[in-house]
Amino acid sequence: MNTTHHAAPLFLGLVTLLSCGEDRSGTKTERPEAEIDVGRQADRATADPTPDAALPVVVQSTLSRAPGRMTVDQLRRSIEIITGGLAWEEDFGDGPTDMLEVLAPTIGAPDYLLVTEENLEPSLIIAKFLHDASHRLCVRWVENESVAPPERRTLVRHAAAFESREEADIKAGLRALQLRFFARYLPEDGAEDGPISALYGLFLNASSTSTPGREAKDGWLAVCIAHMTDPELLLY
């Protein structure tokens, strides 16, 4: 049975929500619907069956795509890309253990013996484990960042010192994180900063209530956890 059927109402809610920030970036490309000439495509492909030979798809397409949830494997690999190489690991005394590998059966990854289809529902279970992951990963990430030179940083993506709490620096970092986590591009001129205004507030709140000396760390920690636990990370 295809799980996407069951997930449809859940995704519907998500997509509605995803659209409630009107300043969502991204140029909505007004691409004219391509035309497909299946016959021409077939001729070319017969002559030279390489991907390069395939002609652009030509139909007055009425197809559409539903939102999907990342698989456990996609999530594991994406976290490494987003964090610049970190993985959610715990050490229970036998060295580092990849927690997403340990939890894969619980989250619904198939083993093809007992489970043959991955459960891709955006369930509370995956939300709970992402919450756990964020608390473990973000602490490490922030600590790493605090001693890294600006050009090597992957979380605090402004060019100033890590400790900076200047609005321009924080917002530059937040724009970069929106791109990094969600592929949401916000122009550097701040013209479309709507999606980060609340995040900026979160940073200020967390840093202003922090213990002295940890202001920037706690600000970015809050921002990191907010990004990591956002359903938009998992859905695409």
Partner: protein, 534 residues
């Protein structure tokens, strides 16, 4: 209020929102929300990278779009990358379920276990075999003593009678084939290199090893410890995936995945074919698809893959691979998976259900004709027959020279319940007559029971002809397109889509020589891929 900084709010809403449409996306006549939004180029790249490469794009990859587009060249690059292998492997893992139980593959007759797992005291790294333990030490899990072995003048280990009723010898050090240059502790009986048992059975055969009188041979060659088992299992999966990736990476017809006679082997699998397969009788592998003589110079430690031609010629791509046949152990299961994965034709019982088992028609022994059952089995039985020359619960090719359609010994035992049938008859021939209609099949190879003349002719050609039918009538192209649509578009296609745009794509796929990457490209370049349903 719905901002990313309030994930709890989002999660709660996602999980509790009923299926209602938004004001911007009102329901259509069928009640479905039909509003769509076109994702921007950044989201499109994220979508593509997650789908085709199995990961989110890096910030650097995304920044190339600030002044660029997700154009055809970028899609081509993604399809040509090694990272696309992840897509190919995951897609086909979901189709082929490549997961084999270790004990369905590594023969227990040659399995060396560490004493540590059986609480036998002393150094837990001593290796022993349960058949040798049972027949020579008198107890299934009795290992040797944790002291060096003593040998008599004939070179045989000296056993000592123990107070627990067992008899035990000491251990020796052996350089195993799986770790050249090292020495491991093995019970002396297991380390024996004697060529035959007392009955004359070769020690490299299952008869010899199951007798418990044989050892593992030079360098333990016909045994395997758990590390070998752990090495072999992923190799078996990799062999299957190489059979899938080969035609796709090489831009050869996708149909080769299901029809090729070739397979790839590396050192560990070659060693398995040469020395371990002949011991594997449950499930029965026994004779590997590549003759051991061709593999003689491939050491276990050589992990490079090489291509070999399988015999007989009726081998048919992944459908007769070890991984597939050990995962799907009956002909019906093999046909069923093929119909589901590559023809999109699942076997489903009629909605009105099946007749009562007390109904007279339910007594019909031929499932193709039994009422209710025939709803699926009239199609499934002839399809399953294509695997009829491959053993169920195993992979052995049932060579007509060795396994004729009719065996008079098996017929004789079928007709006389007092008579011992033996392993071959019990396993492969009709010997249990449960219904008068079955009497005509006494002594007939099981796969031939109830088969028509035409079905028998196809059986002799293997699953390849089943695939060729689907290539010719377009079902393979059509289903391949639908399966890729499901993966990339995250939903079931509508009937109109299957018979409309997807049909056009599948025809182009077929006419273009079944180029898998081109089909993926067509699907992700369709404007529909960019159009997200809200």
């Amino acid at each position: 209020m719905c901002r990313p900084i309030l994930p709890a709010c989002l999660w709660a809403l996602i999980l509790t929102l009923p299926a209602v449409c938004s004001a911007q996306a009102p329901p259509d006549a069928t009640g479905a929300c039909n509003d769509t939004v076109e994702v921007d180029r950044f989201r499109l790249l994220r979508q593509l990278t997650l789908d085709l490469w199995g990961r989110a794009p890096s910030e650097g990859e995304l920044r190339t779009l600030v002044s660029g587009e997700v154009d055809e060249a970028r899609v081509d690059t993604m399809l040509a990358s090694n990272e696309f292998d992840r897509f190919v492997e995951r897609h086909h893992a979901d189709l082929l379920w490549p997961s084999v139980n270790g004990l369905d593959f590594v023969p227990i007759a040659g399995l060396l276990l560490p004493t540590a797992q059986y609480g036998d005291g002393g150094d837990g790294n001593r290796l022993f075999n349960i058949f040798i333990a049972l027949y020579q030490r008198r107890e299934l899990y009795a290992a040797c003593k944790d002291e060096p072995a003593v040998f008599d003048e004939d070179g045989e280990p000296v056993f000592e009678d123990m107070v627990d009723g067992t008899r035990r010898e000491g251990y020796v050090f052996v350089e195993p084939y799986w770790a050249p240059g090292t020495q491991i502790k093995v019970c002396a009986a297991e380390a024996s290199v004697r060529p035959t048992n007392e009955y004359g059975d070769g020690c490299a055969t299952f008869q010899g090893m199951y007798s418990g009188q044989c050892g593992c041979g030079p360098n333990l060659e016909h045994c395997a410890d758990l590390s070998v088992a752990q090495t072999l299992l992923p190799m078996l999966r990799e062999q299957l995936m190489r059979m899938v990736r080969g035609p796709i990476d090489g831009n050869r017809p996708y149909t080769e995945v299901l029809t090729t006679v070739e397979e790839e082997l590396n050192g560990p699998l070659a060693h398995y074919y040469r020395h371990l397969a002949p011991l594997a009788i449950d499930p029965i592998v026994l004779v590997p698809p590549v003759a051991p003589a061709e593999l003689a110079d491939l050491p276990y430690t050589d992990f490079a893959w090489r291509t070999f031609r399988r015999t007989p010629e009726l081998h048919s791509g992944v459908l007769t691979s070890l991984a597939y046949m050990l995962r799907f152990q009956t002909a019906r299961a093999r046909a069923n998976r093929y119909y589901n994965a590559f023809l999109c034709e699942p076997f489903q019982a009629p909605v009105e259900g099946l007749p009562s088992p007390n109904d007279e028609c339910s007594q019909e022994p031929n499932l193709s004709e039994r009422c209710g059952c025939n709803y699926c089995h009239s199609k499934l039985e002839p399809a399953a027959a294509h695997w009829g020359r491959f053993a169920e619960a195993g992979t052995l090719y049932l060579d007509p020279q060795v396994y004729p359609v009719f065996d008079s010994r098996c017929a004789a035992c079928a007709e006389n319940p007092q008579r011992e049938c033996g392993f071959i008859c019990d396993r492969f021939y009709v010997t249990d007559i449960g219904h008068p209609k079955e009497a005509q099949y006494a002594g007939v190879l099981k796969a031939y029971e109830w088969r028509t003349r035409e079905q028998i002719a196809r059986m002799e050609l293997g699953p390849k002809v089943l695939v060729e039918d689907a290539i010719t009538d377009g079902r393979l192209a059509s289903c391949s397109t639908v399966q890729l649509f499901r993966r990339l578009y995250k939903r079931e296609p509508t009937e109109a889509e299957v018979n409309g745009e997807l049909l056009e794509l599948s025809r182009a796929f077929q006419a273009g020589g079944f180029n898998f990457k081109s089909l993926v490209k067509s699907l992700v370049q369709s404007p529909g891929y960019r159009r997200l349903v809200r």
